[in-house]
């Protein structure tokens, strides 16, 4: 009986835990409750992926009202896959959260911090699970508002301005999305995505539809931090508390990519999206610009969190590049990199949380000699960095491999060169770190002082996942390929 309600429980379980956090007074209970909720959500996501894999699309009508009249949850391989990414990153990050939060956030804020964290998780899951266009907007705002609050908790006062900047840009993005959804509704009279997909071909010639597409694309790109709309991201990731950086870097932009995929492929249909606009060229151009510009910016940063934030913008470029190919291997690369990049960035930001825990800051001067004083933490950073570069036996290699294959398939050899050059740039900034950590001695004579185990173990869980999934690829590639085929199948043959 429970199994039929999994789609809604996926979102509702973390949601219930959020107000409960506010009522709990014991701080140890807070962490247990949040972790339990996130873990439960992860198990549900896993079960949903199994169900979606075996039985195709799962539809759940909320309130018992049939689809276009009520709100429908519609789970297929694609959302189940993204749900799994979000919940697993959230769970591992929470595992480490307790220690890091104890240090970075005053105790009186803990209940509200955990509550916001769970609300953010709820919002992200809600966006991913829903099959209703307006419901996307509502849950988008839940996740956005809570992430503004989470970011503003950073200790530096620049966290406040970063949060404000994100708030303004995020709200503009959300309003653009609202305009886009409104125009779609105007054309079809429905808000259900599946229903929209069936009704839009009839009005494919409409100028209003083109305008709706433009607004949705720009709005989602703002949320996704697609170059050149990425301005909010470096500040937001740099100044927020470590745990929040790790969580957001692993989840928020990934969900935005999902929304883009969902609208392009499911709602508008690839036929429309790629024929009416030169979308392939637009996506490729933006992606290449993101890879080049952000990688080069990353090299010049002195704050390591900021370095990895710029690297995130570059990695999003790879993810977007895969969409541009409009082929199964391209989309598989996109989806693989979605998961892999979440793993790498969460691992890296968690390792930085360890550094921050001991050193108080994450400037380049703080990692001098870290290879000796915090060997495990620094090893995690190095392995995560190698994965970022795309060295074989790491997950980064797998997704770049697929991307290169997709580029060669279509004869885009320039893009192959750019992908390789981007990896080279990544190597440069990772090498700068390695150099500081292993070949410089720290100015003061620090005793060997490793981060606490409760931080180190989750970090290494992610690092090991980076390596394990880079060797045994059956799990991720299977789901990614299935989802990619589904997206393109819809694009080619009309209804699924």
């Amino acid at each position: 009986m429970i199994s039929s309600h999994l789609p809604v429980l996926q979102v509702v379980l973390p949601l219930i835990a959020a107000p409960l956090c506010l009522l709990l007074r014991r701080s140890s209970l807070l962490w247990i409750l949040s972790f339990a909720a996130s873990l439960a959500a992860m198990i549900i996501a896993w079960l949903l992926l199994q169900q979606a894999g075996s039985s195709g699309v799962i539809s759940y009508t909320i309130g018992g009202w049939a689809a276009p009249w009520g709100i429908e949850y519609r789970i297929d391989t694609l959302n189940a896959y993204v749900l799994l990414i979000v919940t697993s990153i959230s769970t591992v990050v929470l595992l480490a959260a307790k220690k890091s939060i104890e240090q970075e956030i005053p105790q009186q804020h803990w209940p509200m911090f955990y509550s916001s964290y769970l609300l953010c998780l709820t919002g992200l899951l809600g966006i991913t699970a829903t099959g209703d266009a307006f419901n996307v907007f509502v849950f988008l705002e839940i996740s956005s508002l809570s992430s503004y609050a989470l970011i503003s908790l950073g200790r530096d006062r620049r966290a406040l301005t970063a949060s404000y900047q994100y708030l303004v840009m995020g709200t503009i993005g959300a309003t653009f999305i609202l305009i886009g959804i409104g125009l779609l509704y105007m054309l079809t009279g429905t808000l259900n995505m599946h229903d929209l997909a069936q009704r839009l071909p009839a009005v494919a010639q409409s100028k209003t539809l083109l305008s709706a597409f433009a607004f949705l694309f720009v709005g989602i790109s703002l949320k996704l931090a697609l170059f050149p709309l990425h301005l909010w991201l470096p500040n937001a990731y740099t100044y927020s508390p470590s745990i929040v950086s790790a969580f957001l870097a692993g989840t928020a932009t990934k969900v935005a990519v999902y929304v883009l995929l969902r609208f392009i492929f499911t709602v508008f249909g690839a036929d429309y999206a790629f024929s009416v606009l030169p979308l392939t060229e637009i996506l490729m151009l933006l992606a290449v610009a993101a890879i080049m510009f952000a990688s080069i910016s990353a090299i010049y940063q002195s704050n390591i969190k900021r370095l990895f934030a710029y690297s995130s913008v570059a990695q999003l470029g790879y993810i977007i590049l895969g969409i541009g190919f409009l082929s199964v291997s391209g989309l598989t690369a996109t989806l693989l990199h979605l998961f892999n990049h979440a793993l790498m960035k969460a691992a890296l930001f968690m390792a930085l949380a360890c550094v921050l825990y001991r050193q108080g800051d994450v400037m380049f001067s703080n990692v001098k000699g870290l290879g000796k004083t915090m060997p495990w933490t620094f090893m995690a950073i190095v392995l995560g960095g190698l994965s970022l570069v795309g060295v074989p036996l790491t997950v980064g290699f797998i997704s770049k491999w697929y991307l290169v294959v997709a580029a060669i398939e279509q004869g885009h050899f320039v893009l192959v060169a750019i992908i390789l050059f981007g990896s080279l740039l990544a190597l440069v900034y990772v090498w700068r770190l390695v150099e500081q950590g292993y070949f410089h001695n720290s100015e003061e004579d620090h005793p060997r002082q490793e981060a606490p185990l409760s931080l180190l173990i989750p970090t290494w869980m992610l690092v090991l996942a980076n390596i394990y999934l880079g060797i045994d690829t059956s799990l991720t590639i299977g789901a990614a390929e299935q989802a990619a085929q589904m997206l393109l199948g819809q694009a080619g043959g009309g209804s699924p």
Partner: protein
Amino acid sequence: MINIILLGFLAVVAIAVAMMRDLFAIVMLFGIYSLLTAGIFVSLDAVDVAFTEAAVGAGISTILILSTLALTSREEKQPTHSFLLPLLVVLVTGATLVYGTLDMPAFSDPEAPVHQHVAPHYLNQAEQETGVPNIVTAVLASYRSYDTMGEVTVIFTAGIAVLLLLSAFRHHEDEASNLNDLSHHPVLRYIARLMIPFILLFALYVQFHGDYGPGGGFQAGVIFAAGFILYGLVVGIDKTRQMFSESKLHWLMASGLLLYIGVGIVSLLLGGEFLNYNVFAADPLKGQHWGIFLVELGVGITVTATMISVFLAFSEVRRSE
């Protein structure tokens, strides 16, 4: 006709906001803008929306921005950077939208697609299916009640966020609050005390009459909170804080949201889908009635508690620089 005049006013007000430098005047103009919008909503038959816009835009938002100005500064500096790029962005965006309007159905055309597909079902069936004559309430609290749950969650999130940001800046008991100036005015105090019971009564009316007329949990919550905010202004913030301690407000904020989710969970346990009210009673209409009642109550509680705690958080911020 009325529309054209109101829209003209709106355009003038918007331009004035863009041109002016005195923030205080801008906020007042913004309140007027909201009120005008509410007027247009009425003329476009959206009474519920007008009600909310008047309460929120002209009321809550304006109060929040004003109290922020009181804590910051009221003059805006002359910006120095170039206006060309923003102007270009705006022109491109506007052009895209205008391009989009060219294929839009004419204004108020009953043949437009919006009126053909989902909406007729609501208009023809909703009263039989939910027993609520106000279709907006029926859609809000039953057909799309999941969206409304999201809406309550958004309010709850904002409440938590404001508390996170401002609670560290609470002034202590011994510092006298500047905001309760009004408590020294005998006339104001007398009139306010006379009014408050009626305001609260009106809020209850809006809460429970939402099925039949414009209104519902959100509007009621705002009005209810407004009553207590007025009380806070005339009697003093400290007295109001004594009435609503922090933990009590937390409890109320959480319980409204939990009530909403609880309704969903119970319907799930009774064998229906999440938020399917039909399973609450043998007669689906009765079940719907209960479901909508409880859900609206949840909305009202959370909105009231959040508004009050946001107001208190704003007015308790220390004024010292």
